[in-house]
């Protein structure tokens, strides 16, 4: 009852000094806004990245060339992986169910007058099974296509739509880097698969891509699918052993390839986002500190202005602790109102950022809002402490005489 009354009184006080209180809470508004939008952006990014990793599948092991132990991290430029490595993995590792070597590059695709920049993915028939990525029309690349280095291609959903509109693309001929290819299928709409926007991708047999389109010997990546996801580490050991013997790497020498899983990649991303988190929260912390000073200032003014009121309250039976509680609650209420405004502005700001940038995904977790409000109340109480103590120490006789 007492607390309720005091909160009510605090709100009344705010009402009479609207402008002043708003300005005083500005620091808290900015601080909370920073916390909320930082959390929204980080959580959104985390969610987005997690979603992409999850689309990779937990049973997948990715192999890229280059050592991860070098000082500069993964050096993907080192060309080490060949098509025969993929075959070896499939042959020798009994824990691996499927292997899809990949080569990736950008190219122009042309259909009559229509020209479009796309990502070319050279791979094998294993690709769609590993990734659970299906065709909506026609068929996927087949083993014979790879073996025969056939000039066939499967269009990503967006590519088909851009070049052919509503008409079925299957059976038509398109030109990739000047070479004619027959469209044999169109993929389903998928968005992202791993970090690739697969809807804007054109899939060709890996042999065709390596020899006819790019003239390279090395593959970009080999995706392996384990038979049993719970036995992933054993599969990794097998893959590593196979590749080391394939590349004739002597014992004690570093791998010339890097193996990673969804879990490891997630962890790496988490490490990076943590750095951002620390930076963003430091900024938020500083603005909240400034906000706290603002609240303290306004509370000191309020205590001075209301000296007589304090005198009266003591005269009619308020204990020192009552006076202190009143001002603390007032500070907390002011600060929390600032916090609420900050939450609104923060949510709005992150929504705006999402719309402007179009790539940034934001998500405001409910916990962020609670966290921000609790923090605002905390800032209010901490910064209200000194003014409240001052108020509670007033001499009633002096206070009643105060002009």
């Amino acid at each position: 009852m007492f607390t309720f009354r005091v909160i009510w009184m605090a709100l009344r006080g705010l009402q009479t000094n609207m402008m002043r209180s708003l300005l005083a809470t500005l620091g808290v508004v900015i601080g909370v806004c920073a916390v909320v939008s930082a959390m929204s952006i980080l959580e959104g990014a985390k969610k987005d990245i997690t979603k992409r990793f999850e689309s990779m599948g937990a049973d997948q092991v990715m192999v890229v060339s280059g050592s991860s132990r070098g000082r500069r991290g993964v050096q993907t430029r080192t060309n080490a992986l060949e098509l025969k490595d993929a075959e070896a993995i499939l042959d020798q590792c009994d824990l691996v169910k499927a292997v899809a070597p990949e080569i990736q590059n950008a190219a122009q695709i042309k259909y009559f007058q229509k020209n479009k920049g796309v990502q070319i993915l050279g791979t094998t028939d294993a690709y769609y099974r590993i990734n659970e990525y299906e065709t909506v029309e026609g068929r996927f690349i087949r083993r014979e296509d790879v073996r025969g280095e056939r000039k066939v291609c499967v269009l990503g959903h967006k590519v088909a739509k851009d070049l052919f509109g509503e008409v079925s693309a299957v059976g038509y001929r398109v030109k990739i880097k000047g070479t004619g290819f027959t469209v044999v299928g169109v993929m389903e709409k998928k968005g992202f698969l791993g970090f690739r926007e697969v809807d804007n991708q054109v899939i060709v047999p890996i042999s065709t891509a390596m020899k006819r389109l790019y003239g390279v010997r090395f593959v970009t990546m080999i995706t392996c699918q384990a038979k049993n996801p719970s036995n992933l580490s054993a599969a990794i050991t097998q893959i590593k052993r196979t590749l080391r013997s394939q590349h004739s790497i002597r014992a004690g020498t570093d791998d010339d390839f890097t193996v990673f899983t969804q879990e490891q990649a997630k962890k790496q991303v988490a490490d990076v986002t943590q750095i951002f988190e620390v930076v963003l929260y430091s900024i938020a912390g500083i603005s909240l500190l400034v906000g706290g000073i603002g609240i303290m200032n306004i509370m000191l003014v309020s205590v001075t202005e209301r000296t007589r009121e304090i005198g009266v309250r003591i005269a009619v039976g308020a204990r020192r602790v009552d006076i202190m509680t009143q001002f603390l609650i007032e500070a907390a209420v002011i600060s929390m109102i600032g916090g609420a405004v900050g939450v609104l502005v923060g949510v709005g700001l992150s929504a705006l950022l999402e719309r402007i940038t179009r790539v940034l995904e934001t998500y405001t977790p409910p916990s962020a809002i609670v966290y921000a409000l609790v923090m605002a109340a905390g800032v209010g109480i901490v910064s209200g402490l000194y003014p409240a103590i001052r108020a509670s120490k007033l001499d009633p006789v002096e206070a009643l005489r105060y002009e």
Binding site: M1, F2, R5, V6, M9, R12, G13, Q15, T16, R308, E309, G311, V312, R313, I314, A315, V316, G317, A318, R319, R320, D322, D395, P396, V397, L400
Partner: protein, 272 residues
């Protein structure tokens, strides 16, 4: 005995100077009395009221309120005494302007440490005939109405004693009389009223007069009808009435007194 004061002193240190605001005052007040404390500014009457009202602690001496030694009490106990047994009415009303009358009256209830409804506050407002103005803010009220709200606040917990510090000082004569009327009513209902004033015409309405000079009680006398008459016509402090001609006097009417602010006020010629 409601109030029993023995040898009460209050000494302030003002720089190098020691000010004896109250210098060994003794006083007994029975429950249901109506007394006025008067004296020039600096005579110690305000200090005395603050001590009696438990707003301040004496330097020495004892003060028993309702047979309990107030001077030995903690801050917390004093707060409870002020809340339960004492009501204050001030010259400048001291209302909280941003909240309506009813909330002002309810302030002591807030500190009463028990759940309450606005009914008690409303009852108190009814007693000062302001029930209809409960939702109005003090800034929307006349001086008399504000003082009535202040009285309602003082009586909301049905205290045993009300201290009124120059309650009519900021009001015109007619409104002042209305306010005094309320104090008379409260007195009839059994509340002890202690009125602090420097206006003789106001002090005269009590039943007993305490006059303070330089921190001591100079005069302590019942107000008889003839003394009242003297006081009503004697100007400000009634110095002449009380010192020169004694309590029964009446011959010295027509003197002039000096007000606090220094202006000379001519008293009306005596009406024997």
């Amino acid at each position: 005995m409601l109030i029993q004061v023995r040898d009460l002193s209050k000494v302030y240190q003002m720089g190098a100077e020691v000010v004896r605001a109250l210098d060994g005052v003794s006083l007994d007040v029975d429950a249901g009395e109506f007394l006025s404390i008067t004296g020039a500014s600096g005579s110690g009457k305000s200090t005395f009221m603050h001590l009696l009202g438990c707003l301040d602690k004496p330097t020495s001496g004892t003060y028993h309120l309702n047979d309990r030694d107030v001077t030995q009490m903690s801050d917390k106990e004093l707060a409870r005494i002020r809340n339960r047994e004492i009501g204050f009415v001030f010259q400048t009303f001291n209302l909280i302007n941003r909240t309506p009358a009813i909330d002002n009256v309810a302030v002591p209830l807030v500190y009463g440490r028990e759940t309450f409804t606005n009914k008690k506050a409303m009852d108190a407002l009814e007693r000062v005939q302001l029930g209809k103005r409960a939702k109005h803010k003090p800034s929307e009220m006349s001086g008399g109405e504000r003082q009535r709200v202040a009285i309602a606040r003082a009586i909301v917990n049905n205290p045993k004693v009300i201290f009124a510090d120059e309650p009519t000082g900021n009001l015109d004569t007619r409104t002042g009389e209305q306010i005094m009327g309320i104090f008379h009513d409260l007195h009839k209902e059994g509340t002890t009223i202690i009125l602090v004033t420097h206006e003789m015409s106001v002090a005269a309405q009590a039943k007993r007069l305490i006059r303070m000079v330089d921190g001591v009680v100079d005069t302590d006398t019942p107000i008889t009808p003839s003394l009242r008459n003297e006081m009503l016509h004697s100007g400000m402090f009634g110095a002449s009435v009380l010192t020169d001609s004694g309590v029964s006097g009446g011959t010295e009417s027509g003197v002039s007194g000096v007000t606090d602010s220094g202006s000379t006020v001519a008293a009306e010629p005596g009406v024997s």
